[in-house]
Structure formats: structure tokens, C-alpha cells
């Protein structure tokens, strides 16, 4: 539904200063700014949000992350679990778009191949980028099979080397010769979804418990508030550790994944419950809520029809700020070796595999998941920031 009205329609006179005799019917008084005052709440929010430059940029970045997460198999050029003995600890290859040959210049994306040598003394492979070995890339390359959205089997990938056997390591390779870029892409899928699913679960818990506490008050409020205070007073890391350690060790990676999400959201709802309760308390005293009650509306109608719309924006803001915390929590747990475990790939798992001197000294590209976490968390915080400002568009 939109309330915007075309400027030349008769309805556009709403809000105009009437009785201006110089104007003919259908003409608009140029003194009146029609762009204000006729927009919906959502338009105002969008306008206000778009003024927050960082938030807008962050939204684009996050959209990219979400796209990558949803289409992980399509974006990843290599199978993230595929071990290639020849390319253990291969450094990243730079992506080139313009191909300079004797015949001239052409748009032909390519990377340079490696020459690999084994140093028996130092027990490692040395990689030298060999500019004579050009590995050309093609778009929509057919190679390894995956299931899009976990359902549709396909083998089309955004980009890939013309010959599938050629090395293509945009972000380098890990200790087993697995493609870091593809692993990062798959890690994005898991880590973002843990964050989002976790927040949705804690949101449901938080809105129900916090809402009931704020609306009804009394003993229920007292009990939930003490419970929340207790939960929040527990040091989080030892608590996660305890819960994670209590998980049966024979659970499959998928079960562990859901269990970790559950654990995180069972502890994460308290913050949201507080926010919701606060809003309910504030709105309870509003005249229109009292009026709705005196009109004989049921509790459910008062809450859903009259109160919730008044603070949806606040909930969205609180939730969007909770996602990065959830992602960091998953990362911390996995980094400590208590959360997700290989072969599941998450940012935390990738970082855990990188926590050794060998990586720091000889393969710093394995720390890229750290950069991904920083970017994602910052972006989400900026978006949350922008949303908070935008949620109340009339505030200055």
C-alpha cells in the first residue's frame, strides 16, 4: 500500500493551503513542498536510512555476502573439500582481466600458474608464480557437482579454469591443498545462517517472554527479569563450553550445527526480551492502548494490532545488532574447538585450522576468514546503526 499521490491528481490537494484564488483547478501552489508530509512511514525510514552512507554501503556488502551464502556452490570455483597434494600451502593467484598477447589486447580473465618445487631439507613446497603459464578462466564453467539450495543437482559455476585440472586459488590453498576461496564461500553460508537462524530463534523467545513480561507485569515479570539477570551474569565462554561439551560426541555435523545454534539462541534471547519488555512498559501507559482496552479488545488484538506495529522498527534494529554478536559467538566457540568441527566449514572452523605458527609465518592468507568476519560484523553493525536512526524518522 502506498500513500504517495501523483502531484497532478485532485487528491494531491490534501495538506495544501486551500482557497488560493489565483490558482486554477488542478494547479498546484508552488509554495507548497509536496515531497514532505505525504510519505508513508516506510518511505521516511528508507529516506532516513539512505542518508546514512556507511549503512548503505554496508547493506550492499551484506547483500553480496548473503548472495554468496545462498549460491555458495555456484560461486565456489573448487570443491571446498577437494584435497590436491601438489598445491599444499599454495599462495594466492592474482586475477587478471586483460590478456596481452602478440596479437594485441583482449578481455580474457586469467591467472598465472605455479612452478612447484619440493625442498627436501625444509620439508615444504615452494611456489613461484610462472607468468608463462596462463590459466584462462571461463564463466559458467561446468565442473564438480553440487546441489543448489541443497536441492537442485547441477555442476555450473560462476567462474572456473578452462581445464579443470589447472590450479585456481584466488585466496591461496590450505595445508591440504584445498581452495581457500571456496572454503571461505562455504564458511559464509554456515556462519551467516548460524547468525540469522540463531537470531530468529532468540527473537521468537525474546518477543514472547519479554512481551508477556512487559504486558502482564506482576510476578511473571519479576520471575523473568531475575532469570534474565541470572543468565546474563553467567560468564558466556565457560557457559558455552559447558553446554558444548555436554553434546553427545556421536552427533553428526548437522546435528551439532543445530545444537550450537540452539545453544547460542537460548543465551541470546535475554537481550531482546529486555528491549521488548521495555517497549511494552512504555506503550502500556499510552492513551491509545488504554482506549483499545476500554473498547473491549482482546489481549491478543491489543498486542498485535495496536502495540507491536509501534515498535517493529525497534525490534528489527535490536535483531540486526544481535546477528554480529551471534556470528562472533559461533566463531569463538569453533575457534576454541568446541563448536562446529571439520568437515563442516565455518569461519570459526577455518580460523581454528589457522591457529599455528606455520600459518602465521608462511601462509598468512589462511587468516582471510578473520577479515571476512571483521567485514561482516562491521557491516551488520553499521546497518543496525542506520536502522536505529531510521526507525524513528522524526527524531533529529
Amino acid at each position: 500500500m502506498t500513500l504517495t499521490t501523483p502531484a497532478n491528481s485532485p487528491d494531491a490537494r490534501i495538506g495544501q493551503v486551500r482557497d488560493t484564488p489565483e490558482l486554477a483547478v488542478g494547479e498546484i501552489d508552488p509554495r507548497i513542498d509536496l515531497t514532505h508530509g505525504t510519505e508513508s512511514q516506510w518511505q521516511l525510514i528508507r529516506r532516513r536510512f539512505s542518508k546514512h552512507r556507511l549503512a548503505v554501503v554496508s547493506l550492499w556488502i551484506l547483500s553480496l555476502f548473503v548472495f554468496v551464502a545462498i549460491f555458495a556452490g555456484f560461486v565456489a570455483p573448487n570443491d571446498p573439500g577437494n584435497v590436491k597434494a601438489r598445491y599444499t600451502y599454495a599462495p594466492p593467484q592474482a586475477l587478471h582481466f586483460i590478456d596481452k598477447t602478440d596479437e594485441g589486447w583482449a578481455f580474457r580473465p586469467h591467472v598465472y600458474g605455479y612452478t612447484v618445487e619440493i625442498e627436501p631439507e625444509a620439508l615444504r613446497r615452494t611456489f613461484v608464480i610462472d607468468e608463462d603459464k596462463k590459466i584462462y578462466l571461463t564463466f559458467f564453467k561446468r565442473s564438480w557437482e553440487y546441489k543448489l539450495f541443497g536441492l537442485i543437482p547441477t555442476d555450473i559455476h560462476l567462474i572456473g579454469p578452462e581445464r579443470s585440472r589447472d590450479p585456481f586459488y584466488l585466496f591461496g590453498a590450505d595445508r591440504l591443498g584445498r581452495d581457500m576461496f571456496s572454503r571461505l564461500v562455504y564458511g559464509t553460508q554456515i556462519s551467516l545462517s548460524v547468525g540469522l537462524v540463531g537470531v530468529i530463534m532468540s527473537l521468537v523467545l525474546g518477543v514472547i517472554i519479554g512481551g508477556a513480561a512487559g504486558y502482564f507485569g506482576g510476578w511473571f515479570d519479576a520471575v523473568t527479569q531475575r532469570a534474565i539477570e541470572f543468565l546474563r551474569s553467567l560468564p558466556t565462554i565457560p557457559l558455552w563450553m559447558g553446554l558444548a561439551a555436554a553434546m553427545p560426541s556421536d552427533w553428526s555435523p548437522l546435528q551439532t550445527y543445530f545444537a550450537i545454534t540452539l545453544i547460542l539462541s537460548f543465551l541470546g534471547w535475554t537481550e531482546l526480551a529486555r528491549v521488548v519488555r521495555g517497549r511494552f512498559l512504555a506503550l502500556n501507559g499510552e492513551d491509545y492502548v488504554a482506549a483499545a482496552r476500554y473498547d473491549g479488545c482482546s489481549h491478543l488484538r491489543v498486542i498485535v494490532r495496536h502495540m507491536v506495529p509501534a515498535f517493529t522498527s525497534h525490534i528489527i534494529t535490536a535483531a540486526s545488532l544481535a546477528v554480529p554478536a551471534m556470528i562472533l559467538a559461533e566463531t569463538a566457540l569453533s575457534f576454541l574447538g568446541l563448536g562446529l568441527q571439520a568437515p563442516v566449514i565455518s569461519w570459526g572452523v577455518l580460523l581454528q585450522e589457522a591457529q599455528n605458527i606455520r600459518t602465521l609465518a608462511t601462509a598468512p592468507w589462511l587468516l582471510l576468514p578473520g577479515a571476512a568476519i571483521v567485514i561482516a560484523v562491521l557491516a551488520m553493525n553499521f546497518i543496525g546503526d542506520g536502522l536505529r536512526d531510521a526507525a524513528d524518522p522524526y527524531a533529529k
Binding site: 584435497v83 613446497r125 595445508r175 591440504l176 599455528n356 605458527i357
Partner: protein, 629 residues
């Protein structure tokens, strides 16, 4: 009536010749000389035994001074202490690990039946507190271990009820065995044999009820739970008591009790060894061991040049590039070690599984052969070990006197087709939707493997094998777990599979044949049969099949034989049966290892064998390490 061992006689004769020729005038470290001059310490000749052990330096006679720094991991890393300064046993392995030579004992004799062992101690030998060291101390240590009331950790590999100690005179100690044991000297020279010269009766007697009636109260007053714990931690295996008298080259200054970050040792003024110039050893003034929390911490210390001589924990294939690159900056050199282990990782299916269906499947030799042939060992070598190593089963190394080609090489060829045929031949032809074969019970074959998380290479190997076995329709569920959890599951016999290093690749195969037949608790492929062999009264014990029993009988026969050739022959028979049984699946024969040595350090061995039973670097005689000027 016993005959002299000709080898022992010749060695004793050599030492007797070398010793007195230099005895006239012994010299000592400057700090000790100052103490003697001040009248705080007895002169060096009075502190040394009448007949000190003369160490012939590996390269050259050294000079006094300096600190030897190394690192310990966690609060129970006593292994490094026992391998280094703690290796001063009654009799020792020689440097090349070819024979057992006198050490604390000046010489020894063995009778023909290998039932009577007589050790002659050095006259005037003293503990680090200046008290005399005599045969009474040996008897005391032995009797504690023999005591049924002693509930602490006992040295491995000894049958306590068959050993009797006897003090002939203060310098002569005799061990009598009720059954012959041709391996007793090797046991005493191994890292487990040190106990017999570790407990000073005049000090530790207070913790043993046979010596002191209220020993338990004294132990409790000292902060221990019981006298057994006090004996174990204060007098045998741990180093929590810095006042305890020792025979080591350095004596303890700070206790290793978890509270101190830096464990320090200072020169023992009563140490019983001198160099060929008559200088009392050790050359190095102090030993410092830093307690660290993890291996990465140690790697950093190595690269920063804060480790002078060590390979403890950090010397893995993964870390080698970093440590190799750090040589110039850290001022150290890598010296090769010959790994005496015969395998980087041995996959052990639980042949005595509690689940009858799994037990039936795992006991099919064809099943294990198929799994073995489905392993692409070349890939493992390429990926995890940078191309160094050789496909190998659990078998003595090629350089070992016990090398058995069938045992070493069977089923190492990568051949998934034959593997598939073998599995089909067993009737495992049905598969589920994921292509996993169904077992005899109709369930998909899923083998769970917990690999200890502190051994990252196991995990990398296991992850490769997961993919390789998928090809033949076997689901290996490999995951990391804390080491203590892994061992707890083995002790409860609740594991499907275990993965561990292949110990016992050289002469130590005789002492620890854990992978050749169910021998001890490390034989994780047949915990129940091993318990049966150990006769320790465990409820898990279960009588093994005839072939396994035959191996056990042969080993008992082997022990009873003092003749080395006869031992070798019997062991060959045991290995033949092991080859036929094919209990476990090996992966890769380890290539050379390495040890880090400070560039300024002298008398560093150019190459040494690395293993646990031969506690490298101990037998090189670490007291001869010195800093070049």
C-alpha cells in the same frame, strides 16, 4: 654360582684401565672451586667416587659455563626431564643403541640362565646432598615397587612378583629372578628402568611404611593424598620435590608442581662422571625448562632462539619449514634424528569390540586388507609429509634386525578395485543411498574414529582416508577429540578404531611389541586380549584365539632366553604370525626427524636415534654438552 658376562668383563676392564690413569687430579667448575676454597664444600676428590665414570666426549673436551634452555608442555611433561638430565640409570644403552653398558653401576654380571644379575656400585658414590649412595637404596626402590600396598604408578615391563633384590655388601646388589628374563638389562636401561636409582632411602624412606611406621601421616603433612602418591611423585616419576637427592648431573632448584613457570636445575657437585681430562661434569652451569601451555608457544621460542637443545613436542613435519627458516635468526642448527618409530599413523580396528556385529566384521582379515588397499598412501605422503616417507605397514623398520618384508609391505599397494572385490567377496554388496555398504547386520558400515586433537597430523591423515574409503563404500567418521577422552574410550573398550604412532620399529620391538601381538594397553586393536596377556585381573580380560595365544606363548619363551640369537629367532616367528593375522593398518614409514641445537653448543651428536624406550637424547650423555667460547 654364576658366570661372568664376557661383554661386561671387557667393559669393566676398559673402564678400570681408563679410570685410575686419570684419577690423580680432578678439576671442577669455578663456582664449585670457590665454594671449596671458602670451606663450604668438600674437595672434588672427596665428592667423586673412588672410580668415577670417565666420559669420552663426542667431539672435544669442553669448558664450564652457560645455561641449557628447553621447554615443557603443561604440568605433567616429566617425559622430557626423564629423557634428558633424568637419564642416569643403573645400566644404560650405549650411544648407538647396540648394547647395554654400565653407568651408575661400575660393572655387572649375569648368570647363564638370566636369573641372577649382580651389580657392583662405585665406592664413595654420593647423592646430590652428599649422603652415600649404596645397595640399600636399590633394594629400597625395588621393594617399594614390589610392595602390594604401593598404589602409585609402577615402572612398566617388570614382573614384580618374580624379582627379588638382595644387598650383598654396600657396593654389591643382586637381583634374582624366579623365571629367567633375557631382557631385564634392556628394561633397566630403558626410560622405565630408571626408578631403581631414583629413590634415596635416607630421604624417601619417610614415605614408605615398611621403613617409617607413620609414613602416611608424614605424606599427608607434606600435602600428598597418601604415602603411595608421595613416593610416586616425590621419589619416582615426577619432579615436584626440589629437596629430593638425585644422582643426576644437575640437581633441582625449583619444583615442577604447576606453580612455577621456570623449572631450574643447578650443577650437582657430587655428580659421578668426569671427562678424559679429569674435569668433573657437567660443563653447563644451569638447566632451565620453561613451562608452556601449548606447542605453538614452544615453536615461537625455538624461532626466537630461546631453546638451546631440544626436539620435544615441536619437531613435527608441519613445523619444519618455519623452524628451518628461523635457523639464521635464531642462531641454531637442525641436526637429523633417525626416527625409530616405524609408522606415522596406525589405524587400529577394535578386534575385541563389545558389539558382536562389529566384532565379526572387523575380524574379517579381508575386510582389513580391503581397507588397507583402499588407502592411497602416496597421497598421504605427498600432502601431509611433503613427499618424504614410504608406504609401510606396522612392521620393524628396514634397518632393524627384525625386518619382515611381508609384514612391512603387504596390502600397501593402492588398489581400490581389488579392495572392492574383497568387500564384495565378503557378501557386503548392498549399499545405501549414499553409496555406503551395508554390514552383515544390514546397517551402513560406519567406523567412528576419534583422533587426539594435539596430534594434528593424525587428523590430516584421517581426513584423507575418509575420502579414500568413501570410494569403496566405507564411512569413516573421523573427528578430533581431547587426548584424555580418546584414551578413556579405549580403556572402556568403547572405540571402533584408534590411531597412533608406530612405536617399536627398531630393537625396542622386543621390549614393546604392542603392534605385533596384543601386548599392553597401547594395543588398542585388541584391548581385551592384551588385558588377558597382562594378567592384571581386569574384568575386560578375554582369552584370545589360538594364533594370538601362540604369539603370547612364544613371547614368554623369548623372555626366558638370555641368548640374543635365540631371542631374534623366536621374535621372527611372532612377526610371521603377525603378518598372517594383519591386525592393524599402517600408513607411512617416517623419514628423518630433527633436533634443534644452539650453534654455540659443543658435543652435539650429528645424528641420533629417536624413540621413547631409548630416551633420546639421554644416552648421548647430556652432561658433556658445553658452550664454545
Amino acid at each position: 654360582m654364576f658366570k661372568r658376562n664376557p661383554m661386561a668383563v671387557s667393559l669393566a676392564a676398559l673402564l678400570a684401565l681408563a679410570g685410575p690413569a686419570l684419577a690423580q687430579d680432578y678439576t671442577q667448575a669455578p663456582d664449585l672451586k670457590a665454594a671449596v676454597d671458602a670451606g663450604d664444600l668438600a674437595p672434588v676428590a672427596a665428592r667423586l667416587p673412588a672410580n668415577p665414570y670417565v666420559v669420552t666426549p663426542l667431539d672435544s673436551v669442553g669448558t664450564y659455563g652457560g645455561v641449557w634452555r628447553s621447554a615443557l608442555k603443561g604440568t605433567y611433561d616429566t617425559g622430557w626431564i626423564r629423557r634428558t638430565i633424568g637419564y642416569q640409570p643403573l645400566v644404560a644403552y650405549d650411544f648407538e643403541w647396540t648394547k647395554v653398558v654400565p653407568n651408575v653401576a661400575e660393572n655387572f654380571e649375569v648368570n647363564e640362565d638370566a636369573t641372577e644379575f649382580t651389580f657392583h656400585l662405585r665406592e664413595g658414590h654420593k647423592w646430590s646432598d652428599g649422603e652415600p649412595f649404596t645397595a640399600e637404596d636399590l633394594l629400597f626402590a625395588l621393594n617399594v615397587m614390589k610392595s602390594p600396598a604401593y598404589g602409585g604408578r609402577k615402572a612398566n615391563g617388570f614382573e614384580w612378583d618374580k624379582i627379588t633384590g638382595e644387598v650383598i655388601d654396600p657396593q654389591t646388589f643382586k637381583i634374582t629372578l624366579s623365571d629367567p628374563n633375557g631382557l631385564l638389562l634392556e628394561r633397566l636401561a630403558s626410560v622405565e628402568g630408571q626408578f631403581i636409582v631414583n629413590a634415596a632411602k635416607h630421604y624417601c624412606g619417610k614415605y614408605f611404611p615398611d621403613v617409617t611406621a607413620d609414613a602416611n601421616d608424614i605424606a599427608k603433612a607434606a600435602g600428598f593424598e597418601s604415602w603411595s602418591q608421595a613416593m610416586e611423585q616425590s621419589c619416582f616419576f615426577n619432579f615436584v620435590d626440589e629437596d629430593r637427592p638425585l644422582l643426576f648431573a644437575w640437581r633441582q632448584v625449583t619444583p615442577y608442581d604447576g606453580l612455577n613457570q621456570l623449572i631450574e636445575w643447578e650443577r650437582n657437585p657430587y655428580f659421578f662422571k668426569v671427562d678424559t681430562d679429569g674435569q668433573q661434569l657437567p660443563y653447563i652451569d644451569k638447566v632451565q625448562m620453561v613451562q608452556t601451555e601449548n606447542v605453538e608457544d614452544i615453536v615461537l621460542k625455538v624461532v626466537n632462539g630461546e631453546i638451546d637443545f631440544s626436539n620435544r613436542h615441536f619437531a613435527t613435519v608441519t613445523n619444519k619449514p618455519v623452524i628451518y627458516d628461523g635457523q639464521e635468526q635464531g642462531g641454531y642448527t637442525l641436526k637429523p634424528t633417525t626416527d625409530a618409530r616405524m609408522n606415522h599413523a596406525i589405524f587400529q580396528l577394535n578386534l575385541t569390540h563389545e558389539d558382536p556385529e562389529k566384532r565379526k566384521l572387523y575380524n574379517e582379515k579381508d575386510f582389513r586388507a580391503a581397507l588397507s588397499m583402499a588407502m592411497d598412501r602416496e597421497e598421504i605422503i605427498d600432502v601431509v609429509f611433503a613427499g618424504q616417507g614410504e608406504p609401510y605397514q606396522a612392521a620393524p623398520r628396514p634397518s632393524s634386525q627384525f625386518y619382515n618384508e611381508t609384514l612391512a609391505k603387504q596390502f600397501t599397494e593402492y588398489d581400490p578395485d581389488t579392495a572392492n572385490d574383497l568387500l564384495d567377496g565378503l557378501g557386503l554388496t548392498e549399499r545405501n543411498g549414499d553409496g555406503i555398504r551395508l554390514g552383515f547386520d544390514g546397517e551402513p558400515i560406519r567406523i567412528q574414529l576419534f583422533s587426539p586433537s594435539d596430534q594434528t597430523e593424525f587428523n590430516d591423515i584421517a581426513q584423507l582416508v575418509v575420502e579414500q574409503w568413501k570410494e569403496i563404500g566405507i564411512d569413516l567418521d573421523a573427528r578430533n577429540a581431547e587426548r584424555s577422552l580418546v584414551y578413556e574410550r579405549i580403556q572402556n573398550n568403547s572405540h571402533d578404531m584408534h590411531i597412533w604412532w608406530g612405536d617399536g620399529g627398531m630393537s625396542d620391538a622386543l621390549l614393546d611389541p604392542r603392534f605385533y601381538f596384543p601386548f599392553n594397553l597401547e594395543s588398542a586393536y585388541a584391548e581385551k586380549w592384551a588385558q588377558y596377556f597382562m594378567k592384571n585381573g581386569s574384568t575386560l580380560a578375554e582369552a584370545p584365539p589360538a594364533d594370538v595365544q601362540k604369539q603370547m606363548d612364544l613371547y614368554i619363551e623369548l623372555i626366558a632366553s638370555p641368548d640374543k640369537e635365540e631371542q631374534k629367532r623366536i621374535f621372527g616367528e611372532i612377526l610371521d604370525i603377525a603378518a598372517d593375522q594383519f591386525y592393524v593398518m599402517g600408513t607411512v614409514l617416517p623419514a628423518d626427524g630433527y633436533i634443534v641445537a644452539n650453534n654455540k653448543l659443543g658435543n652435539v651428536p650429528e645424528r641420533q636415534v629417536y624413540t621413547w624406550v631409548y630416551p633420546q637424547p639421554g644416552p648421548m650423555e647430556t652432561s658433556q654438552l658445553y658452550y664454545k667460547k
